[in-house]
């Protein structure tokens, strides 16, 4: 099979993971900027991180024959400090000139606070002013339903943003309809303990449609599985789906969304 890994934090992973992903049929990996597991002490920390995402990691990935793309932002977990957020957002326009940047992400909310929303609005404005795709992180667990509604309502209200150029990630059964009805793309994240299992993700495709949805591993430094996307494809085979349908979900859907950015080119 062939597939795209549309959301993976490869800076936290080993070269063994690159080998496994390429062996399983991965044709491109996309890495959103995220929380490192600790708060960075200054905007300089983000400058270094953006250099890692736009320069070092694509080179590391290329050693295994895997094209690497990224998204840039200050993540919502570090958005409570507005001054820091402003300094980091000011760094981003220069990095948008890199030929592996896909857009602004993963922006969004974490605990649904006023400052998080303030920083989200600034990111959406940055994307609108620079005609960028948007990748949105929705909150975890008990905060997800409320946060997803707040995010969808905010972006929907900005007439400069084409919903077809926005992907709302980490949707589950109680949020997917709100996202799809608003015209956005949705991402199903396959985690062992939270978010979705393969079986539930396929249920969602069956119940809510498969036209604007993709699956990702969101593998990082926490409990996560870098091969969860091809594992989900195997689960679809077990349910009786043919190769053509599997190819659409795991390859053509993400390619359709990502190809809206001219930097995304499959070799």
């Amino acid at each position: 099979m062939r597939y795209i890994e549309p959301h993976a934090h490869m800076v936290s992973r080993t070269t063994d993971d690159y080998v496994a992903m390429v062996t399983a049929g991965c044709k491109a990996v996309c890495e959103p900027a995220f929380w490192a597991g600790f708060d960075r002490s200054s905007a300089n920390g983000f400058y270094d991180y953006f250099c890692q995402l736009t320069d070092y990691e694509p080179k590391r990935s290329a050693k295994f024959g895997l094209p690497h793309y990224c998204w840039l932002c200050i993540n919502p977990k570090e958005a409570e400090d507005i001054k820091l957020a402003d300094e980091v957002i000011a760094l981003i326009p220069d990095f948008l000139k890199s030929d592996t940047v896909l857009g602004i992400g993963e922006i969004g909310l974490n605990k649904n606070s006023r400052n998080e929303m303030n920083v989200l609005e600034k990111h959406v404005n940055l994307a609108a002013e620079n005609d960028q795709l948007i990748l949105v992180h929705t909150p975890h667990l008990e905060d997800k339903h409320k946060g997803t509604k707040l995010i969808v309502d905010l972006i929907k209200s900005d007439s400069r943003i084409d919903p077809g150029k926005v992907l709302i990630d980490h949707v589950e059964e109680h949020t997917v309809k709100y996202v799809m009805d608003a015209g956005f793309w949705g991402g199903l994240t396959l985690y062992p303990e939270s978010k979705c299992t393969s079986a539930r993700a396929i249920d969602i495709l069956e119940n809510f449609g498969s036209e604007r949805l993709w699956m990702n591993s969101a593998c990082d430094w926490g409990v996560s599985v870098p091969l969860s996307v091809p594992y989900a494809a195997q689960e679809m085979r077990r349910r009786g789906y043919d190769d053509k349908t599997i190819d659409r979900i795991f390859y053509r859907n993400p390619v359709e969304f990502l190809s809206q950015c001219s930097n995304f080119k499959l070799r």
């Binding site: 974490n110 006023r114 975890h140 905060d143 109680h174 495709l205 349910r239």
Partner: protein, 91 residues
């Protein structure tokens, strides 16, 4: 979306679901044995079990763990989520 060759979902998933159900029973026995039944998360867990009687089980379970309010909070004082909204679980 539907598979071309639809499988018997009970055949596919019964053993897995059976194992998870037994794990839930064992978890509840363990919590009771260790005297943690007043923990707000355990109360929310028991409350969520009622959703298994509904017609939209997954959505109702997820919603029973969710923050039902609409307003932004003044400030985020923690980063992590604990899995259930504390106030809801007091019911």
């Amino acid at each position: 979306m539907e598979p071309k060759e639809k499988q018997n979902t009970v055949e596919l998933y019964f053993m897995e679901a059976r194992a998870k159900l037994i794990d839930i029973a064992a978890f509840m026995d363990r919590v009771e044995r260790d005297g943690h039944t007043e923990d707000f998360r355990f109360k929310a867990f028991k409350y969520a079990l009622k959703s298994l009687e509904s017609e939209n089980r997954v959505q109702d379970v997820l919603m029973s763990f969710s923050d039902p309010t609409d307003e932004l909070i003044p400030a985020a004082t923690i980063k992590a989520a604990c899995g259930t909204w504390p106030e809801e679980s007091q019911q």
